[in-house]
């Protein structure tokens, strides 16, 4: 549903080599930002120089940063792993068994369409204001796109190939490893990108609203609210890199090691 953007453009964007114009533009933006804020802004606002100073300070001296990073990405990792597992199983079953697809389709679609923030009060009611509510929200956000992707993947399976394989006496294992998985892999990757992006958003919003705990999200919130915007932006960069890694990195790894995926 969200961000189904072909990562190819993301990749070319990052690899393009018009370095001069690019550096020039970055320079202009940073200059305008620096001059604008120090001329017109309030003293607590973030500036490029301030951020530059805050980078070593925050990364090395901030005692709450790294525990927060571990806590948050621990939940993200856990949530994404469970979601991929459950989502793929559910999607494959929906693709192969009509009764299951009829039974589950309205619920998968319904949960997918529900804005994830709206169910958070329910989860805090059930699980309390702690990490398990965060994990629950991550699962709620990340399972449906994965299931839908796996489901679409099974639809893309070409009957022709199956028939050829069967008539040449392929074993069940060969059909799975040789045909089913490679042909649905692009869908699974797209689903992974969607659901990991949603998982990242879910963890941040859950931390903001739950308010207890020491995750990266709530750490950013506390820094921003105590008017330490430079430090907050440095912490925010970590989230950005995580998002970039999930959107681009995973995909380029797959492209590299699973070359048939190149279209």
């Amino acid at each position: 549903m969200e961000s189904l953007v072909a990562p190819k453009t993301l990749l070319t964007q990052l690899n393009n080599t018009n370095l001069k114009i690019r550096l020039f533009a970055i320079g202009i933006v940073l200059l305008v930002w620096q001059v604008g804020v120090s001329g017109l802004g309030k003293p607590f606002m973030a500036t490029p120089l301030g951020i530059l100073q805050a980078i070593p300070k925050t990364l090395l001296n901030d005692k709450k940063l790294w525990p927060g990073v571990f806590e948050t990405f621990g939940v993200v990792f856990q949530g994404i792993s469970i979601s991929v597992l459950l989502g793929v199983i559910l999607g494959l079953m929906m693709g192969r068994i009509p009764a299951i697809s009829y039974a589950f389709a309205p619920y998968v679609n319904g949960f997918y369409a529900t804005p994830m923030v709206a169910v958070l009060p329910l989860f805090t009611l059930w699980f309390g204001f702690n990490v398990s509510a965060t994990l629950a929200l991550v699962l709620f956000a990340a399972i449906p796109p994965m299931a839908v992707a796996a489901w679409d993947g099974t639809k893309a399976l070409q009957i022709k190939y199956l028939e050829v394989a069967k008539s040449f006496g392929a074993r069940r294992r060969d059909i799975w490893l040789g045909i089913a998985i490679p042909s649905s892999l692009p869908f699974l990757i797209a689903g992974f990108r969607l659901s990991s992006g949603r998982a990242l958003s879910a963890v941040v919003i859950a931390e903001f609203l739950i308010g207890t705990g020491n995750g990266l999200g709530i750490h950013i919130m506390r820094l921003a609210q105590t008017f330490k915007h430079n430090e907050a932006i440095v912490a925010l960069f970590i989230l950005t890199f995580a998002g970039l890694f999930l959107a681009v990195g995973v995909e380029s790894l797959v492209r590299r090691f699973l070359p048939w995926f190149r279209k």
């Binding site: 549903m1 969200e2 309205p106 709206a118 329910l122 805090t124 903001f208």
Partner: protein, 259 residues
């Protein structure tokens, strides 16, 4: 998926509709049984309690006011975000040096979870309708912008060449060649933007000054009015499904000419 198409034959409707009804019926039954016999009322409202609470909320008008507040926030943010996203996307894709200069920034902001920027909006601009609709616009902007960039890059260069060699005016070229090939892409961005916009509305209403559905959800969960809470979540699900099907229709409508 819920909206059955009128033009399709009767047989597929029969085949696809009854399983849906059956699945919803079984779901409601399980929901009712769990609510009635297994879980405490404080934590779980049964199906009948939820629906009666929903009716009640509509009768008292409580939810109508909230819905209106949330939807107006959504509309203002959505319109601003999608128009800006479209324009910026066109500029980045069609004007080369702007693209080279600013595409990196768009990409980096796009992969940052937009929710993480809410604390900054809060401390820089404060509370109120404006900041909230800014947040919604921020959520909508990026999917529209990124898909528009992709679409504007996918314009067939041959068509543009032909148009040039027949001395087409710039305006006509945009109208007849560029927009028709960009719009299908932008519409898929807009469909994503609709979904994200709803998340933005509720998040803004939670984290900035409370209003609309967001405030209702928070209040009900704090007061342990679980039936009302379930009713509001159910309403959000219906809204989301409705918005999703509208988005799909839009997308279909604007890609009808695509082979």
């Amino acid at each position: 998926m819920i909206s059955a198409k009128k033009e399709s034959a009767i047989k597929p409707i029969l085949l696809s509709r009854y399983p849906l009804a059956l699945s919803l019926l079984v779901g409601a039954l399980i929901w009712e049984i769990i609510g009635r016999f297994f879980l405490d009322e404080i934590y779980f409202a049964s199906f009948s309690k939820t629906t009666s609470a929903l009716l009640n909320l509509f009768v008292t008008g409580e939810i109508r006011v909230a819905l209106f507040e949330s939807l107006s926030l959504f509309v203002s943010g959505f319109i601003g975000g999608s128009i800006l996203g479209f324009l910026v996307g066109i500029l980045i894709a069609r004007i080369k040096f702007i693209g080279i200069a600013f595409e990196n920034f768009v990409t980096l902001l796009y992969v940052t979870p937009p929710i993480a920027l809410i604390p900054f909006v809060l401390t820089l601009i404060g509370f109120g309708y404006g900041p909230k609709s800014l947040i919604v616009g921020w959520f909508v902007f990026f999917p529209v912008c990124i898909t528009t960039i992709e679409g504007a890059r996918a314009v067939n260069p041959r068509l543009i060449e032909v148009a040039h060699s027949f001395r087409s005016s710039e305006l006509r070229m945009w109208r007849d060649i560029v927009f028709p090939s960009v719009l299908p892409y932008s519409m898929s961005g807009i469909r994503q933007g609709i979904a994200l916009g709803f998340v933005g509305v509720v998040a803004a209403e939670f984290l900035l000054d409370g209003s609309g559905i967001g405030l209702l959800l928070r209040t009900y969960s704090r007061l342990y009015e679980t039936d009302n809470l379930f009713a509001s979540v159910l309403l959000m699900t219906c809204l989301g499904l409705f918005a999703m099907s509208m988005g799909k229709k839009l997308e279909k409508r604007f890609s009808a000419w695509r082979a």
